[in-house]
């Protein structure tokens, strides 16, 4: 199959590469660009371990073709924190013990990052609903939900203070 030129922006950095159109975004990220934060848990878009942010939407990178990602702006877990440290969500996952083996964590946080933009002040029910596409086998989700709610509170407080 002929390769096509793919231009994507990953975590603010422009990338140009040749890929087979049906190559999956997760492989482009992990194998071509060395962005290994997003993980492969199921290869079938059911576990959420590979979740990244693409043009302002959460997507499962294991079911997005490189061709579909052409021209897209992609943020992964590696791109969430600023130069001087962790994003509030990352901080809260750490503080509230929202992880055990950590394999689901990059996908969880990346999804939660988008969720809090979709619903800046979510109820617990909305968090649970909004995170339903991300599986965790270790934590039982309690501390994940707590971390997201705590991050929402912190982000909202910061917003208010800025106004």
């Amino acid at each position: 199959m002929s390769k096509m030129q793919i231009n994507i922006t990953v975590n603010g950095k422009k990338q140009e590469l040749l890929a087979e159109p049906r190559e999956l975004l997760i492989h482009v990220l992990r194998e071509r660009l060395g962005v290994t934060g997003p993980h492969v848990g199921c290869d079938t878009s059911h576990c959420g371990a590979c979740t990244v942010d693409m043009d302002g939407k959460s997507v499962k990178a294991c079911t997005v073709f490189a061709a579909q990602a052409n021209g897209a702006d992609i943020t992964t877990i590696e791109g969430l924190g600023g130069p001087d440290g962790l994003h509030v969500l990352q901080q809260m996952f750490k503080e509230h013990h929202g992880l055990q083996c950590g394999f689901c964590t990059p996908g969880m946080i990346t999804r939660a990052y988008r969720l809090l933009q979709e619903i800046p002040n979510p109820s617990e029910e909305e968090v649970r609903f909004g995170m339903a596409g991300n599986l965790c086998r270790c934590t039982g989700y309690q501390n994940i939900v707590k971390a997201i709610l705590a991050a929402a509170a912190e982000l909202n407080a910061a917003k208010e203070a800025a106004q």
């Binding site: 848990g41 013990h97 992880l99 055990q100 950590g102 394999f103 270790c138 989700y141 309690q142």
Partner: protein, 778 residues
């Protein structure tokens, strides 16, 4: 450790410090094996597996696979330079089937290619020809033919026949208990790197690096000292990476040897789920002789366990089922029998609880049935059967139940869960709600800690102090997310009284600490923590003498505190003392060792004291079921778990919550489903449903039992926590039974299969409605 730890305020131990890699995990910087930078020339591998459940292997021809572009090599049973045997306990378990294939998904060989995709494609292009034979797919058929992978086991005490004959009432029943896939989020993976002299370095996602080391060496035809295994972390294990990881590591190593290139083998989820073992599904049948007040006087339980095609760890799994069939109850005459049925399905293996959950759900179902058929309160039946001074205090396998906390955990959970008020409310609700029924249940868990097999209860650790005062820690335990590395580091920081940041946590390595046991049976922190404690304490003793010389005081006056070493009002830093110790030519390194005391076990009679101690816990669960659709939901769960004096309460709470939800999955939504050809059809998250963020109790209250240091001398009086809370989820199962029972007449016990899927709940509701009034058996 003869100090009384109860009154001592500790600096590091007992604090809820975050997981050792938390900072890296949230930043996406913690490397799993698949994230490690690949060495030049790395090949990717894929397993070739059996398409049929049983038959004679006629041909295994890789020509088609090797013709695919970028495919480099194939290894089958004939390409094994050493032994084609990876049996973890008993010999005779092939890495690759050579003559007879025994289950769908059984590894037959492995291919390597330049890319993962090409390897997967090639694995399907290997020509496999099997002369099919009739497979045995269920335990009953195997049992009728007396086809077992190992001899049957019996735990027995007292005269069961007499007890049953003289009972006021005889209660009989049967329970189908489903299996469970581990569904660790990181599938099985290994990365094998060939070295000089035929050496092999293997990065393996394994709970048992020593087993991987030994089997890789023997498969390659070498000795253990030619293989180095490293495990920094796993993306979940739950027992599934105990013996099963060997398959993956050995296959990768074979290709690495053959091609002289590094080889990575990562299983696709579908291959992981069909090629590797799971929790044993079992069928339990019983006869109980009881008094009218619910006291069980004699109990006969028989388990048919699905071993699969080989023994693997089935023997000890059954032993643990049998030694937990009493759970918290003293049964004067007991006979618990377990058969390891040989089936043409994947060989089942360790899974968190290791047989304990099957034993506990059986006895809890029996207690529930006894209560329902005698129209007694199940909690009353529990209480009058509890181990205690009035009943008896020795288990059927001969171990006394010491430091018994059953009454304490029961009373506490009944109070904090507001049992009485809610019981009345739920009964009132059910009286007026024809479709939605609610159920409530309480149950205790007593779980024995230690490997049943005494020889496994040993551990090693290696501690170095460097001249700048930094500490290097290594031990035989592996980190799979359970927080072991942090707990052991806390122990070492506590001994030296240094900041936790001073202690460097390092990957488990067979070259540093040899001959380790699997990180399993919840014993990780107990045994590795104690080995590290012993190592650190030995170094500290030597450093104390140097400090005494240096500060010119008797050694007794030296105190380590907050990173400094004090003598009266003079002090030097820990780092300065390290430098002095080196200069004084005193060793700053120690290999620590620990062997669990007091335990012994006779594998022939199944008698002894297999467990160093018991942990206790209790749970109350409330559910709602829809009697038209069979759906169920857990509305509230209250858990109380004994962690002794917890080394890290944040880690322990996480273990309790996670284990409980995993147990709920086992008993409600996770169903393994094989077709009539013996093909597992639930090989991905689309068909195999593990709990999601909305499937956990809406109201979830979790507590650690307070002021409860271990009565035995464990490391800082803590207790193990990995497995016991999984069994607290049996409360959800019992609450579903309670809801179903409300659809029938008093005196009738539901017949429900586990897992309580909507189908099984509907079946049980229909059944109990059809049965009308109380007659017959449950």
């Amino acid at each position: 450790m003869n100090i009384d730890v109860r009154s001592v305020q500790r600096a590091t131990v007992g604090r809820g410090i975050a997981h050792d890699s938390a900072r890296k995990h949230v930043a996406g910087e913690a490397d799993y094996i698949d994230d490690m930078p690949e060495l030049p020339g790395t090949l990717h591998a894929a397993l070739v597996t059996s398409p049929v459940a049983h038959g004679k292997l006629i041909a295994l021809d890789p020509a088609g696979a090797l013709a695919i572009e970028s495919v480099v090599a194939f290894c089958g049973p004939d390409d094994i330079p050493g032994h084609n045997d990876i049996g973890p306990i008993l010999p005779g378990e092939p890495l690759f089937a050579s003559e007879i294939v025994d289950y769908v998904g059984q590894p037959l060989g492995v291919v390597a290619a330049e890319t993962f995709e090409a390897a997967v494609k090639a694995s399907r292009a290997v020509h496999v020809d099997v002369e099919e034979r009739e497979p045995v797919l269920d335990v009953e058929t195997a049992h009728e033919a007396e086809s077992y992978v190992i001899p049957s086991q019996t735990v027995a005490e007292g005269d069961v026949e007499a007890g049953l004959a003289s009972a006021e009432q005889l209660i009989e029943g049967r329970l189908e208990i489903g299996g469970q896939d581990h569904f660790y989020l990181e599938t099985q993976i290994a990365y094998a790197i060939p070295g000089e002299d035929g050496d092999m370095t293997v990065h393996s996602s394994t709970q048992h690096p020593t087993e991987v080391q030994h089997h890789v060496a023997h498969v390659l035809g070498g000795l253990a000292n030619s293989v180095d295994v490293f495990v920094r972390r796993m993306g979940g294990g739950f027992g599934g990476k105990e013996s099963q990881a060997t398959i993956i590591a050995a296959a990768a190593a074979l290709l690495a040897r053959k091609t002289r290139r590094p080889v990575k083998l990562r299983l696709k989820r579908s291959v992981d789920m069909s090629a590797t073992g799971k929790r044993h599904d079992m069928v339990a049948t019983w006869k109980a002789g009881v008094r009218k007040n619910g006291r069980i006087e004699a109990l006969d339980i028989e388990y048919l366990a699905r071993a699969g095609n080989t023994p693997d760890l089935t023997g000890p799994v059954i032993t643990r089922a049998l030694t937990h069939s009493d759970n918290s109850y003293f049964i004067p005459a007991a006979r618990f029998v377990g058969h390891a049925c040989k089936t043409n399905t994947v060989s089942n293996t360790a899974f968190r609880g290791f047989g304990g959950p099957q034993g506990i759900i059986a006895i809890e179902t029996i207690i529930d049935q006894v209560a329902r058929e005698l129209t007694l309160d199940p909690n009353v039946v529990r209480a009058i059967n509890y181990y205690g001074p009035e009943t008896g205090e020795v288990t059927p396998y001969g171990q006394p139940v010491e430091h018994n906390r059953l009454v304490e955990v029961t009373e506490t959970i009944l109070a904090t869960s507001e049992w009485q008020r809610r019981r009345a409310e739920i009964d009132a609700h059910n009286a007026t709600s024809p479709v939605l029924r609610r159920g409530l249940a309480m149950m205790p868990v007593k779980f024995g800690i230690s490997f049943n097999l005494t020889s496994l209860n040993q551990a090693g650790a290696l501690v170095h102090v460097y001249q700048d005062g930094s500490v290097h820690l290594n031990h035989g335990g592996t980190e799979m997310g359970q927080g072991l590395f942090m707990k052991v580091a806390q122990v070492v920081a506590e001994v030296f009284q240094v900041d936790i940041e001073t202690v460097k946590i390092t990957a488990t390595a067979t070259g540093k600490v040899p001959n380790t046991s699997a990180t399993a049976a919840s014993t990780g922190s107990d045994i590795n923590g104690m080995a590290a404690y012993n190592a650190a304490t030995a170094i500290k003793g030597r450093m104390t003498n140097v400090a005494a010389d240096h500060l010119e005081v008797p050694a007794e006056e030296i105190v380590f505190r907050e990173g400094r070493v004090h003598a009266g009002n003079r002090s030097i830093s820990f780092a300065e003392l390290a430098k002095h110790t080196w200069a004084a030519r005193v060793q700053l390194s120690e290999a620590g060792y620990y062997a669990t005391p007091k335990i012994h076990w006779d594998v022939k009679t199944l008698k002894g004291r297999p467990f160093f101690y018991y942990t206790y816990g209790a749970a109350v669960a409330e559910v709602a079921i829809d009697t038209l659709t069979g759906e169920s939901r857990c509305l509230r769960a209250d858990l109380l778990q004994d962690c002794g004096a917890s080394l890290n309460p944040a880690v322990d709470l996480g273990q309790i919550e996670g284990a409980f939800v995993q147990g709920m999955g086992w008993l409600t939504c996770e169903e393994l489903w094989w077709d009539e050809k013996g093909r597992l059809r639930t090989i991905g998250p689309s068909t195999y449903k593990i709990p999601g963020s909305r499937d956990v109790p809406r109201d979830f209250n979790v507590a650690i039992l307070e002021n409860a240091p271990n009565g035995e001398e464990t490391v800082f009086r803590s207790k193990a926590v990995g497995e016991p809370p999984l069994m607290l989820a049996v409360s959800v199962w019992l609450a579903i039974r309670d809801a179903i029972a409300s659809c029938g007449q008093p005196g009738i016990s539901p017949k429900l299969k586990a897992p309580a899927t909507p189908e099984h709940i509907l079946e049980a509701v229909d059944d109990i409605r059809a049965r009308g009034s109380a007659t017959g058996v449950a």
